[in-house]
Symmetry: C2
Subunit: 340 residues, 2 copies
DNA sequence: TATCACACAGAAATCGCTTTCTATTTTAGC
DNA sequence: GCTAAAATAGAAAGCGATTTCTGTGTGATA
């Protein structure tokens, strides 16, 4: 491929008959330059299609306007929506971001992070559903060199910024809501290996112990899986379990599982919410595209992402690390109703 | 925030008592270094947590292992799935990628591309649903400086690589399939401002003229909108139109519109596919999460993305530009049936 | 023992930019 | 009209790496 060489500042300087310093000054506008020199330089710039080399500039100034983002993947719309929020905030501050998918694998997550450090990113946002797999040491050393913001999860490392939801409280709200509708036989559906699921299960156990009876067989773990897989495995498992366990409500750890539960009910000929109520979590767009629309807890992923990005940029500019907790609000839709 | 300064090659050289050249050689392993010197250097490296500065390296070698990706946004899972494919292919070759969302705005698209060029990416992948808004000149000049791969759309610029689907053929296949099921009264649903919609409408018009009667009122343009919006506007428009126009099938330009159509039918009390058939396009994961599952044309977005990334990297390494056309295959599911 | 090749390591140039430090003009003030 | 202070522009150092060019020490060969 015949790639034309990019014009450099030297080319521009030559063409305009000035020094490189002057070109730099025209480009950055941080130093007085006479009007007609300025125009000559600008002309040279546009005629050569000159675009300053960001790498050289950043090498010189020891600043970088790129941040890194590590997510498990994009199969789950949850992450896509978070990234949307990050993108929005990041661009407003003239930053760019490198995206890496770690596929829920701690080794890939560490590799991704190291690659980002080598690329000189000025900060990193990490969404790691399962923090227990990575040593605290790793993160402690990391945060000594580059500002870090975690989104969700069990992060307790000192000096690390964090944006998350109080998922324990959110789960309580969801359960109280179902309880208020008269439900006592509430199943709980979760997946494997995620801090978030653990938090929610804890909330479920506590709530059921205090407000009813905790039945171990009401706790369903559908194992690993992302995106469509989650929906299918929830559906398959519940199709077998619902007739036997006869819950009046199903409280799911995320909307994908709720869609699976919904599909299971449809196949079993159960009417939702008349015969059984279903509750999701997250409020991904999918939850309002299915019929009936799913009642869920809104995590506001866009906010999660944009808050994380803003906080990171604040930290990059020297701000204190912070923990931001967002509220989860209940979105009442069509899959929940009074228990008969 | 107290960020520790990264160790540089000079620090390592000093600590190991060698020259920077030697350190560089140990790091890159492209030149003989005596065993015990090598070990001293490696020790210094790990004790200082030295990570070579990629920017400096790339500035010097005039190579960059970062590519840029420009998409309209992530609201539509279509793009998320394409990016998944890109990420996968890119990582395998040791590249990273910068992601930019252009929000269907030509100005933002050009800005995003310029930002990427300035960041010295070694290639760019562009998914631009509406190519008519950007001058060919812009792209012609761009491709002279950096390898480019377009995904989908009407791109005819010489020397530019392209990965896409034959959406005209795909649409024909879809229509033939519906026709084969006995449908003659087929509505066509599209959105505004997209090459892809234009191509599909063209196929629809041609097919209907040749195989039935083309009714202008059967062509529905639901306007702009992304993600959830698309579903809702399709639903609203069709809810009014279906009772009046009485189509036996609805052929949609993408799965979001098909979900909208499906929801409209549900509200109208029509049974799908008994009373009316619905056909989507793309095969995004959503299409098989709703009930009934949507019959659709598979675009295999993951392949689209990974092929584009592989082709781009090939081009970066000097390969010829190419046009790759993928097949769209019909995925028969539950929303289509014989016309009564 | 003299010679040659090779293994190894350092000095220095270079990548494209920013930014001091200096050297000129202008302009202002009196 | 003369001096002081801006305004303007260039030269050169430096950011952190790679790589060429050079110069050693060492072993093999004759």
């Amino acid at each position: 491929m015949d790639v034309k060489k990019q014009a450099t500042i030297v080319d521009v300087a030559k063409k305009a008959g000035v020094s490189v310093a002057t070109v730099s000054r025209v480009v950055n506008g941080n130093y007085p330059v006479k009007q007609d020199t300025k125009e000559r330089v600008k002309e040279a710039i546009s005629s050569l299609n000159y675009v300053p080399n960001v790498q050289a500039r950043e090498l010189n100034t020891r600043k970088s306007s790129t941040i890194g983002v590590v997510v498990p993947g994009l199969h789950n719309m949850f992450f896509a929506e978070v990234i949307d929020g990050i993108e929005d905030a990041v661009r407003q501050d003239g930053f760019s971001f490198l995206l890496n998918c770690a596929k829920n694998d701690p080794v890939q997550e560490m590799n991704a992070i190291n690659a980002l450090v080598a690329r000189n990113v000025s900060g990193i946002i990490v969404i790691s559903p399962n923090t227990k797999n990575i040593s605290e040491r790793f993160y402690e050393e990391l945060v000594a060199r580059v500002p870090l913001v975690f989104i969700n999860g069990y992060h307790r490392i000192k000096g690390v910024s964090y944006v998350g939801n109080d998922e324990k409280l959110g789960s309580q709200i969801a359960l109280e809501y179902l309880f208020g509708l008269g439900h006592k036989d509430i199943m709980f559906v979760r997946g494997a290996n995620s801090d978030s699921y653990d938090i929610k299960e804890e909330a479920y156990r506590q709530f059921m112990e205090e407000n009813g009876t905790l039945r171990e067989d009401y706790i369903l773990n559908i194992g690993e899986g992302n995106g469509v897989e989650t929906v299918d495995s929830a559906m398959e498992a519940l199709q077998g379990l619902i007739p036997r366990l006869k819950p009046t409500a199903i409280c799911c750890c995320n909307d994908l599982m709720a869609v699976g539960a919904l599909n299971a009910c449809k196949r079993l000929g159960l009417s939702v919410p008349k015969d059984i109520s279903i509750m999701g979590y997250d409020n991904i767009s999918l939850s309002r595209l299915v019929e009936p629309k799913i009642t869920t807890m809104d995590q506001n992923m866009f906010q999660l992402g944009s808050n994380a990005a803003k906080l990171l940029i604040e930290n990059i500019h020297g701000g204190q690390s912070k923990r931001i907790m967002l509220d989860n609000v209940l979105i009442e839709r069509e899959t929940t109703g009074i228990s008969m």
